[in-house]
């Protein structure tokens, strides 16, 4: 088997809480407690689970937003968890993150062209603003927005449009791995469908690998190749999408699938 793009082995991220009162005992919260998986090039793996299961912490640990307690994460063979911030910086372009809240993840004081242009300069992908604007215009068009919007500020856009801008900011760097943390959860269904289609199309066209973190099993089924189900910091079941949804083995996966309200369409309704 060829080397996967990302290989995580026995990842643990623990947090220490402050004790209650002066002499209260400190507690360790094992948010991620021994998680292993891999993602192949061009593959979409979803992490699904309920709030507090540790799925977001996995994504945040992989982007150095949280510090791993132990374990290994290799990106193209290089262990990057133990890297210093300076060593990790070149990888930041290749591992990008889409966040949940389109209102909190764009700097309100920057014009769209600044938000999209800044990373281009930081990572040395552009030398002049003319060059940057050409790239930004093309990227905005790819995410279905009028290139003219680059002169505007985030408050002028709706949630769906902001999420498109957030996706453009990520994709303009041509990353190899995108971590999407509840990327469509804050959107209304009709807008969610547009953005989901966009993410799927961009993923197919660019061949980027994806770690798609979500609580919504319907969305997960739509976007993923493989699915990992998390519960209390551990992966309880991982497999091909079809297997997880059609023949789940773990009790928790079955319980999760059984809890989802369904719509019965057509004449068979009684």
């Amino acid at each position: 088997m060829s080397e996967p793009l990302l290989r995580i082995a026995n990842l643990k991220t623990h947090f220490q809480t402050k004790g209650v009162g002066l002499f209260g005992k400190k507690k360790v919260i094992k948010a991620v407690d021994g998680v292993s998986f891999h993602i192949a090039p061009r593959e979409v793996l979803s992490l699904v689970g309920e709030s507090g299961c540790g799925k977001s912490t996995v994504g945040r640990t992989l982007t150095h937003l949280e510090k791993a307690t132990s374990g290994e994460a290799r990106f193209e063979g290089r262990n990057f968890l133990s890297m210093t911030p300076a060593e990790f910086r070149p990888l930041r372009r290749e591992i990008q993150m889409i966040f949940q809240d389109p209102f909190a993840s764009l700097n309100p004081r920057l014009k769209i062209e600044q938000t999209l242009g800044e990373p281009l300069f930081i990572h040395g992908l552009c030398k002049t603003w003319d060059e940057a604007r050409t790239k930004i215009a093309a990227m905005l068009e790819t995410v279905g927005m009028d290139p003219k919007v680059m002169a505007r500020h985030p408050h002028e856009f709706s949630g769906g449009q902001r999420q498109r801008i957030g996706i453009a900011r990520v994709m303009i760097l041509k990353p190899k791995l995108v971590i999407a943390d509840e990327a469509v959860s804050a959107l209304d269904v009709s807008i969610q469908a547009q953005v989901l289609n966009l993410i799927k199309k961009l993923q197919r066209d660019s061949g980027v690998s994806m770690l798609f973190i979500s609580h919504d099993l319907g969305v997960v089924r739509h976007i993923s190749d493989r699915v990992a189900v998390m519960f209390e910091g551990k992966i309880v079941e991982i497999g091909e999408k079809r297997q997880i949804f059609e023949a789940p083995e773990h009790d928790y996966t079955r319980k999760l699938l059984g809890s989802i309200p369904r719509v019965k369409i057509g004449k068979e309704v009684t």
């Binding site: 999760l256 309200p261 719509v263």
Partner: protein, 324 residues
């Protein structure tokens, strides 16, 4: 006579000296033992409709400009405040989306239930407390005898929502309005809360108005459904009739937008565009800029509500054309 009758309800917000309608011509009724689901996306007016029924619109910026709301035949809109208060929280109760912000963090949950009981029923503190423990048992809070003295922060999200339900049910209301009661909860907890509500309805015969953005939740729990779009009821029918034959293109679009967990679709058929904002001037049918079937007629004239089938109302110039 139905338990709750809403007729031609119109709500407007005043903005920069202008009166902008947010809810227009909304009519529905709910009977005893019946669950009505109101479904729609953000800004469609579903929550405002429920707040209007509860008389919680308050203030001068958002107000009811037309229509009738009758509860057990009594017109709620002309009822003096004093009489209103004997109905609210007693014969009619509401649960909200976020239990943490609806519960008072500095009072024990028992005391919050007792307050409502003592307000509406002539009970001693000790009797009311016993009743509070009974109610907590009813909504399946573990160790209700101890939990009655807990503070809201000591409970999980699902338990807090159960406390809200207990509080709402404390005076055996005839009508329960639930505005996104499970939206903040995980799916497994959501199922428990929805099952609990259905079970209590069966036992007590309460009528429920369930408001949600989640078509799955609505389809699974409700007897009949009203689909709202930008302040109007686009389509309304019994759950079985609605999903047998969708008559409004918006309902069809909404359904096609959902990535269902039990089927594989390569691409979702998303509705193009977005919901127009309140400030945007709009003539004709509110859905026409996003509708594949729209003609000149749709952009000029607001369609009347017509009966697509008996009991299946639709507000569209071309009802049923979408049915596949």
């Amino acid at each position: 006579m139905a338990l709750l009758e809403v007729e031609n309800l119109e709500i407007a917000v005043s903005s920069k000296g202008k009166l902008l309608p947010i809810v227009q011509g909304v009519s529905f009724d709910v009977d005893d033992n019946e669950t009505l689901g109101i479904v729609g996306e953000s800004g469609c007016g579903k929550s405002l409709t429920s707040l209007a029924i509860m008389g919680l619109l308050g203030g001068t910026t958002v107000r009811i400009t037309n229509g009738n709301i009758r509860f057990e035949g009594v017109d709620l809109l002309t009822l003096p405040e004093k009489d209103r208060r004997t109905i609210m929280g007693n014969r009619m109760a509401m649960i909200f989306q976020e239990p943490m912000t609806s519960l008072n963090p500095v009072y024990r949950i028992g005391d919050q239930i007792i307050e409502n009981l003592r307000q509406h029923e002539n009970l001693s503190y000790a009797k009311a407390r016993d009743r509070a423990v009974e109610l907590l048992t009813l909504v399946r809070i573990p160790n209700p005898g101890e939990r009655v003295d807990s503070f809201p922060h000591q409970l999980s999200g699902g338990q807090r929502q159960r406390v809200m339900i207990a509080m709402a049910l404390s005076c055996d209301p005839k009508l329960l309005i639930a505005d996104e009661p499970t939206t903040a909860l995980d799916v497994t907890v959501q199922k428990e809360v929805l099952d609990l509500m259905a079970d209590l309805q069966k036992r007590m015969g309460t009528a429920i108005v369930l408001i949600s953005h989640d078509l799955g939740v609505i389809a699974e729990t409700c007897d009949k459904i009203a689909v709202m779009y930008r302040g109007r009821v686009a389509e309304a029918a019994s759950t079985a009739d609605l999903f047998t034959e969708l008559a409004h293109p918006y309902t069809r679009g909404l359904l096609n937008s959902i990535p269902f967990v039990d089927r594989d679709i390569e691409w979702l058929e998303a509705i193009p565009g977005r919901v127009p904002t309140l400030e945007e001037e709009l003539t004709g049918c509110a859905f026409h800029p996003r509708c594949a079937l729209a003609t000149d007629l749709c952009s000029l004239i607001v369609p009347d509500t017509s009966q697509f089938k008996p009991g299946h109302a639709v507000q569209c110039h071309f009802p049923g054309k979408v049915t596949s």
